[in-house]
Amino acid sequence: MILSVTASVLAQWLHGALVLALAPLLAGVLAMAGARLRGRRMPSVLDPWREIWRRCRQRPVLATTAGPVTRAAPYVAAASTWLALLLVPGFALGMALAPVGDVLLILGLLGLSRAAAALAEMDAGTAEGGIRASGRLAVGAFAAPVLLLCLLVLVMLAGSSNLDAIAGFIHETPPSPHVPLALTAAALLAVALAGALGVAGDDGVPAEASGRHLALWRLEGSMRLLLWLCLPAALFLPWGLVPADAGPLAWLLGMAAWLAKLAVLGGLLAVLRGRGFPARRPQFLGAALLLAALAAALMFVSAGLA
């Protein structure tokens, strides 16, 4: 009992440290892959980390019209995205925070960090900041019903909205073609891509941020990217997840599988990003909504026939 609790806490700490280290690395890998696909010289994978480190040593410069929101928002946003990431199983199931890991809570935490980013954009009072805040919030609003419908399908399958329980359920069912699940995966992937791809000219960081605030925003942006890859990986590619109390050797196997899954999804993202894929986001999200609604309707019908 005590051993398994210790193991789950250890796994959670390891997971937290790993996502923190991996997030900027993933951003670096994506930048490298993007440059390779365009036939340019590749930047170093470590570049995002180096930048975060460098920015941390700079004194932030605030506009005279900016206030406490600019100073507090990066900490709130980074902490809530990080917490959301802690709740998504990476290499192990049943980590210490698993009972807390409700999908609705994760969506709420993402909303909180999005709201903090939007308020930070609006703080100084530039025209550009307001427009960027509005665009980011609108994507969130259009994505919300899709995510809820995806959750509905998963709840119908697994009987709970706890992410750990859903991942565990899909992990234990033998892989077989399941049409609603595939449709849900497509819808969720569409939302994830819309969230991860970013608008042209907007790297997801408040334009006015500088110094350690900018470092935190960069970290937050890369963690959000990682989250949008981890979530589909945990839900729809649950193979290789190990129990948290299985021991360090099993953890290593789980980590290898996790990295492989992230590589597959990240490669997909890099290719799509190279093609400038979702130019018309509301329509893109509308199609995702249609897919998710179809998946839920199919689930109803199959439950009615069974």
């Binding site: 004194r59 009072g125 530039t126 809820l148």
Partner: protein
């Protein structure tokens, strides 16, 4: 306890004296103290509810007005008293009519909350509505409100009258003993919903809300926004859930469920497209009321299907949403009232005239931020707990095994998600445009923070809302009696711990708060450790706009985002279908050097349709010039196809 209640109700009547003498400071103090007393009474009654009602020496001897402090009354009386106390603190010197209208408003609201018979309940609601009508300086908005309120009151009264036909009395105990059956039950359902929707402002009968709120004086707006809608829906809750008994069919839940989802969507959209402060507030009211109605519908649906745990979950969500409407939306209304008192015209302050108030009004900014984030249903605030409960119940609706309910829940889920997303965007826009950025007018630049008593009216409700968000299990424990009374049985233990059933997910607030605080401290420590101390300040980079002219010392307001511009990404997609939004760019004629102009307008299509429907002249002209029907639009055709597909799916699913 009931005797004290009766004495305090008499005290409410006595408030008319200082109002008539225009002693506004006395009225402020007395009303605030009295309403605080009601809040304490409500809190006490939550711990020890009184089952037996007390007959007031009012009305005919065979049907005296009854008041009681059962668990449901107490659950609403406690926050209502608090909201009344805080809005009384905003009283300022005013006309005699405005002062005279305030005590009856409070009395009506309290009566509606503690009523133990149908007549007193409707009387209280109508008294409050008429008092609000008298307090509104803008007659057109006031007339519209009164029209809706009278219609709603009439419907509710008719519902109670139908119920009492079998019972012979209007008292709740007698009504509970003889639940309605057959067509009478269906009529009660329709009348209750119609009455509550018209009186409370549930979409699509929300046409009066924005106008009435925009015109309301500072101390009336919080009550009109937070209290009246909740109590109107409380009447429907009493009628269809408590008094009609548990034997009613589950399809009763469909109408409130779909209406509620629709109201969330429309409320979120309205909050985003309105450009007045109070208009945005009106959208939040409609959306909050939608959440309440949605929970009521789900509770009915599950109770009819004998599913106790989801029914309790939905009802707990509905009650929490109701309390949040009183406290959260009420707090936002209080903060906006203070902003309008200090920085703009009390009636009709617009987002495009404000900005940068966080520097001058930190207390109002903090209170409004707590309220806005809570209304936007972001964790760890109270609004999120209510939304969590309701969404969990909605996600369990597929277990009813009936295709009709499943598809209704699916549609509601889409409307709920989109509506809450839009509402969150609207709340961020509201707070950001009012409190962040640069001042958009000179008066705003010189505004000062809330004066003396108004500070208390911001600080305490903000603390209460934060507490409610951090300790929802406590709220669940206090609400247990109300849930048991309404559902007529023991409440399942799982709702106490905010769990969706025994095997389902849980919302654990305190661990989330603890981990979040730990992560923030860690980030702060790491970021600060290497960084040089302090911050540098620099003038704002205006994004390439030319320097403002000398008569604009605070910069050019048009170089910041406007209210409509912020909503543009949503208006481009949803503006047409939901709000009749039209925008066009009028280019200057060839050869002219004038700038192009951007024109836009929107009208609420639902209110417009309602006005047309009820306008005799318009109907007569329609009959007179009825020609051939216009060709259906593409959207209609697509909708028809979708409907056919849905019907086909229903047929497949219902096949034995």
């Amino acid at each position: 306890m009931l005797l004290i209640l009766a004495l305090m109700l008499a005290g409410c009547c006595a408030l008319m004296l200082p109002a008539a003498l225009r002693l506004w400071a006395v009225l402020r103090l007395a009303a605030a103290a009295l309403m605080a007393g009601f809040a304490v009474l409500g809190a006490l009654a939550l711990l020890a509810p009184e089952a037996e009602p007390l007959a007031l020496p009012l009305g005919p001897p065979w049907a005296a007005a009854l008041v009681g402090l059962d668990a449901v009354s107490a659950w609403f009386l406690a926050p209502l008293g608090a909201l009344g106390c805080f809005s009384a603190l905003l009283l300022r010197p005013a006309t005699r009519t405005e002062l005279l209208a305030f005590p009856p408003l409070l009395l009506g609201l309290v009566l509606a909350a503690v009523a133990a018979d149908g007549f007193t309940l409707v009387l209280g609601l109508l008294l409050a509505a008429v008092a609000a009508w008298a307090a509104l300086p803008e007659r057109r908005a006031a007339r519209l409100m009164l029209g809706f309120a009278l219609t709603g009151g009439l419907c509710l009264m008719a519902g109670f009258a139908l119920m009492s036909a079998g019972a012979g009395s209007l008292g709740f105990a007698a009504l509970r003993a003889s639940p309605p059956e057959g067509w009478m039950a269906a009529a009660v359902l329709v009348l209750a919903l119609l009455g509550a929707a018209a009186l409370g402002g549930l979409a699509p009968l929300h046409g009066w809300v924005a106008g009435a709120l925009s015109a309301a004086p500072a101390q009336v707006a919080p009550l009109l926004a937070g209290a009246l809608p909740v109590l109107a829906l409380l009447a429907a809750l009493r009628l269809v859930l408590e008094l009609s008994g548990p034997a009613q069919p589950s399809w009763w839940g469909l109408a409130p469920l779909l209406l509620g989802g629709f109201a969330v969507l429309i409320g979120g959209f309205r909050a985003l497209v309105e450009d007045g402060l109070r208009g945005v507030l009106g959208g939040a009211v409609t959306a909050g009321l939608g959440l309440f109605a949605l929970g009521l519908g789900l509770a009915l649906l599950f109770r009819g299907s004998d599913m106790d745990v989801p029914a309790a979950l939905a009802l707990a969500g509905a009650l929490l949403a109701g309390a949040h409407l009183l406290l959260g939306v009420g707090l936002l209304a209080l903060a906006l009232s203070v902003v309008q008192m200090q920085a703009g015209p009390v009636a009709g302050a617009r987002l495009d005239a404000l900005g940068g108030l966080a520097h001058n009004m930190p207390l109002a900014a903090g209170a409004a931020l707590v309220a806005a984030l809570s209304i936007a249903a972001l964790p760890p605030f109270a609004g999120f707990a209510a939304l969590w409960l309701l969404t969990q119940a909605l996600l369990a609706a597929w277990r009813t095994q009936q295709a009709l309910y499943q598809f209704a829940a699916l549609g509601t889920l889409i409307m709920l998600g989109l509506g809450m997303g839009l509402l969150a965007m609207a709340m961020v826009r509201l707070w950001g445009m009012v409190f962040l950025g640069r001042p958009r007018s000179p008066r705003v630049a010189g505004a000062e923070d809330a004066p003396g008593p108004a500070r208390a009216a911001l600080l305490f409700p903000a603390l209460a809302l934060l507490g409610l968000g951090a300790l929802p299990p406590l709220a669940m424990a206090l609400m247990q009696g109300a849930v048991e009374q309404l559902l007529g049985g023991a409440a399942p233990a799982s709702i106490l711990g905010l769990a969706a059933g025994d095997a389902g997910a849980r919302y654990l607030v305190l661990p989330v708060l603890a981990v979040m605080a730990g992560l923030m401290a860690l980030l702060w420590w790491v970021a600060r450790r290497r960084a040089p101390k302090g911050l540098a300040e620099a003038p704002l980079w205006q994004g390439g706009f030319i320097a403002p002219p000398p008569h604009m010392p605070f910069g050019d307001p048009s170089t910041q985002v406007s209210a409509e511009g912020f909503a543009a990404p949503v208006l481009a997609v949803l503006g047409g279908p939901l709000g009749g939004y039209e925008a066009r760019v009028l280019a200057a004629p060839p050869g002219s050097v004038a700038a192009a102009r951007f024109e836009s307008r929107w009208r609420d299509p639902f209110t417009r349709a309602l006005v047309r429907l009820t306008s005799l002249r318009h109907q007569a002209s329609l009959w007179a010039e009825r020609g051939r029907l216009p060709a259906p639009r593409a959207a209609l055709r697509v909708g028809f196809l979708a409907l056919l597909a849905l019907l086909a799916l229903l047929v497949i699913a219902e096949r034995p």
